[in-house]
């Protein structure tokens, strides 16, 4: 697998979920290009078919429109690397590259809006390297901040950790206010 393909795929992809969603769309486009009677050289028309299939669901599924647009930005040159012979191997390797990419798990007490995902993902890529993805885990017990898990080490940067750390002191202080 040409590493540039994976690199191209991951440059503007920020989360692992996003990467896997986009890979599914790319696979669908490849199927349209090679196995559904479309002209493999006619990228524009084939992409429009894909867009037409998904456009009814753009409202209500945050990020889907962005994902479809992303497929378009990959362009015909990206899809020329695939053929009926290597399509399975190439997509499997692309999936493996996604799974092998540095993955940072972020625990948040709320769901991050899609525009914030891009901002945060951009920050991770800028500071930790282009080949970085992150994933969001919902933890309703977190307060004031986030926790991060990377390569098996979990670090809680939230207020919860500080509260737990100073639990005895806090209870002592609160105890002073007892009636």
């Amino acid at each position: 697998m040409d590493q540039t393909l994976a690199k191209q795929f991951l440059t503007t992809t920020f989360t692992k979920n996003q990467a896997l969603r986009r890979l599914r769309l790319a696979k669908e486009l490849l199927e349209l290009l090679f196995f559904q009677g479309a002209n493999p050289d006619d990228f524009e028309n084939t992409f429009n078919k894909l867009k037409a299939k998904y456009s009814p669901y753009f409202v209500g599924q945050e990020g889907l429109e962005e994902d479809v647009k992303f497929i378009y930005t990959l362009g015909p040159n990206f899809f020329k690397n695939f053929s009926t012979v290597n399509i399975n191997d190439q997509t499997a390797l692309l999936e493996k590259s996604i799974n092998d990419t540095k993955n940072i798990l972020m625990y948040l007490p709320f769901e991050l809006p899609e525009d914030q995902v891009i901002v945060l993902g951009g920050w991770f890529k800028k500071n930790l390297g282009e080949d970085t993805l992150f994933e969001i885990n919902y933890d309703p017990e977190l307060i004031g901040g986030c926790a991060i898990s990377y390569k098996g080490i979990y670090k809680d940067f939230s207020l919860r950790a500080k509260v737990n750390e100073n639990k005895v002191k806090i209870l002592e202080v609160l105890g002073g206010y007892k009636r």
């Binding site: 898990s149 080490i153 670090k155 919860r160």
Partner: protein, 513 residues
């Protein structure tokens, strides 16, 4: 911002502040995520510094033990019932798999997680937990085996003796009297200051219930701990049962006690370990057992032995059990266990159905250590009895041909039958070793030489009762210890004969009346 990786996890004792419940997240800890779930085995990624046999917990506090460490995945054996979701997080506890052991366990039936199964309430032990998986102690901690372990059964104590600290395999077909022998052995330890640890491994519930009922009915639970898993328990628990039983046995041994440990049965344990290994994707070997099955059993059996005082004194006598199939004792697991024990007692279903109790096949049973604990008279007598039984068996085969039998042959055949009548011992019938010796020695004295096997059958109990209750055994034991051979011992029995004639005649007259 520094990367999370650049901040290593602090030691466990600094992680959890006082009064914070263990489930509360600590600022920094090692974490892993479930990537594959197969029944009770979960493969987890992450956990970079995990160790084998360490306990890991999920967010819901379901516990698992690390049983396998691959390049980037950790195999966790789930001990608690829990619904594991994809990407479920697992945290390190920095604790090895351990249980709390104390004298409070005596009289109780527990599962391998030390939870009571007998409905007698919680077991509160204040001592620190003890790690289950421990390496066997080295040779320098061990003492020469010198004391006989008294089972109370004539056939075993005289002919295939077991010593304190010996590992003696108990093998035989289904329904050949193995469990009966084990129960008798445990029950016969009453009043001997021996602690018994009985591990019932993956047996049907009714069998477990029968074992416990028998022990309770004979007041043997007072000095016994039963560690049990039924065939319907999860394989991880069944796999842990013998390790837990050994840990409990070691606890009592380290306090100077002589311990009897029964592992019933190791064949079932091997089958469950095979299931776990195959589920973990380990390559199967002979009969699909994993390559380390010998090691798994040997490291348990090696924990038995007799130990020096600085290592607690005391001893662990191990009786691992394995069920054979149609008297085939050359199968893989059976020969493995034979290879790691100091002898074996072979129980024969054929002998069992012929009415022999215990149904041990003497010619195929071995004890490599027990004999060194017997005195000279005992050894000589045992040799003489074995020779007699072997000769009687050989002559019995000839006599079936119908040819004329010489008086000498008839006499040997009669003696053989008398000996078999003595060796037959009904359940719950304990006979002290010296009484066993006297009873067997009498065969070679004029007292029994003039009588038939029917006399032995009818009067055996009367003689045992007299010798146990009215005869000064302790004085006689001191005399027997000075004998150089069995001949001296047999000659010394002549002084007993008039009294024995008197009590047996009285019994015959009572029966006639």
């Amino acid at each position: 911002m520094s990367t999370p990786q650049s901040q290593p996890a602090p030691p466990a004792n600094q992680q959890t502040p006082a009064n914070v419940p263990p489930s509360a997240p600590t600022p920094t800890e090692e974490i892993g995520y479930a990537v594959s779930i197969k029944n009770y085995i979960v493969w987890v990624n992450g956990l970079p510094n995990i160790r084998l046999n360490e306990i890991v917990t999920t967010g819901d506090n379901a516990k698992g033990v690390v049983i396998s460490i691959a390049e980037d995945l950790v195999g966790v054996l789930m001990l608690d019932e829990a619904a594991i979701k994809p990407k479920q997080d697992f945290k390190r506890t920095q604790q090895q798999l351990s249980i709390k052991v104390g004298t409070q366990l005596l009289g109780r039936m527990i599962n391998p997680l030390s939870q009571p199964l007998d409905g007698k309430g919680m077991i509160t032990i204040k001592d620190e937990p003890v790690t289950i998986e421990q390496a066997p102690r080295s040779i320098k901690s061990r003492e020469r085996i010198t004391d006989q372990f008294e089972t109370g059964l004539s056939l075993v104590d005289m002919l295939v003796p077991v010593a304190k600290g010996q590992r003696e395999l108990v093998l035989g077909d289904a329904h050949s009297g193995k469990t009966g022998f084990l129960l008798d052995t445990v029950i016969n330890q009453r009043g001997r200051k021996i602690i018994c640890v009985y591990a019932v491994i993956g047996k049907p519930i009714n069998e477990i219930s029968n074992v416990v009922k028998a022990l309770e009915a004979n007041k043997a639970m007072e000095y016994t701990v039963v560690v049990s898993t039924s065939s319907s328990d999860k394989p991880p628990l069944i796999y842990l049962t013998p390790s837990v039983a050994t840990t409990i046995a070691e606890y009592f041994q380290k306090r100077g006690n002589d311990v009897l440990m029964v592992l019933d049965d190791m064949g079932i344990h091997a089958k469950f370990y095979r299931e776990i290994s195959l589920s973990l994707g380990r390559p199967p070997g002979r009969e699909s057992y994993p390559g380390d099955i010998f090691y798994q059993h040997a490291k348990l059996i090696e924990r038995a032995g007799r130990f020096k005082k600085e290592y607690g004194g005391g001893s662990i006598t191990a009786l691992p059990v394995i069920e054979t199939n149609l008297d085939d004792f050359s199968s893989f697991m059976t020969t493995n266990l034979m290879g790691m024990t100091d002898g074996h007692l072979l129980f024969s279903a054929t002998r069992y159905h012929q009415g022999y109790r215990p149904s041990v096949d003497i010619s195929l049973s071995v004890s490599r250590v027990g004999r060194q604990t017997q005195n000279l008279a005992q050894k000589g007598l045992a040799d003489r009895i074995k020779a007699l039984l072997s000769e009687a068996n050989r002559l019995a085969a000839y006599s079936r041909l119908g040819s004329e039998i010489s008086p000498q042959t008839l006499f040997t055949l009669k003696q053989g039958k008398q000996m078999e009548a003595i060796l037959k011992q009904l359940p719950l019938n304990k006979i002290p070793i010296l009484v066993q010796m006297i009873l067997m020695g009498l065969i070679f004295t004029p007292f029994l030489q003039q009588k038939d096997e029917k006399f032995v059958e009818e009067n055996k109990n009367t003689i045992v009762q007299y010798l146990t209750n009215k005869f000064n055994l302790s004085n006689y034991a001191k005399t027997v210890a000075t004998f150089k051979d069995d001949e001296q011992f047999i000659n010394s029995l002549s002084s007993l004969i008039p009294e024995l004639e008197k009590i047996t005649n009285a019994q015959v007259q009572a029966q006639v009346k």
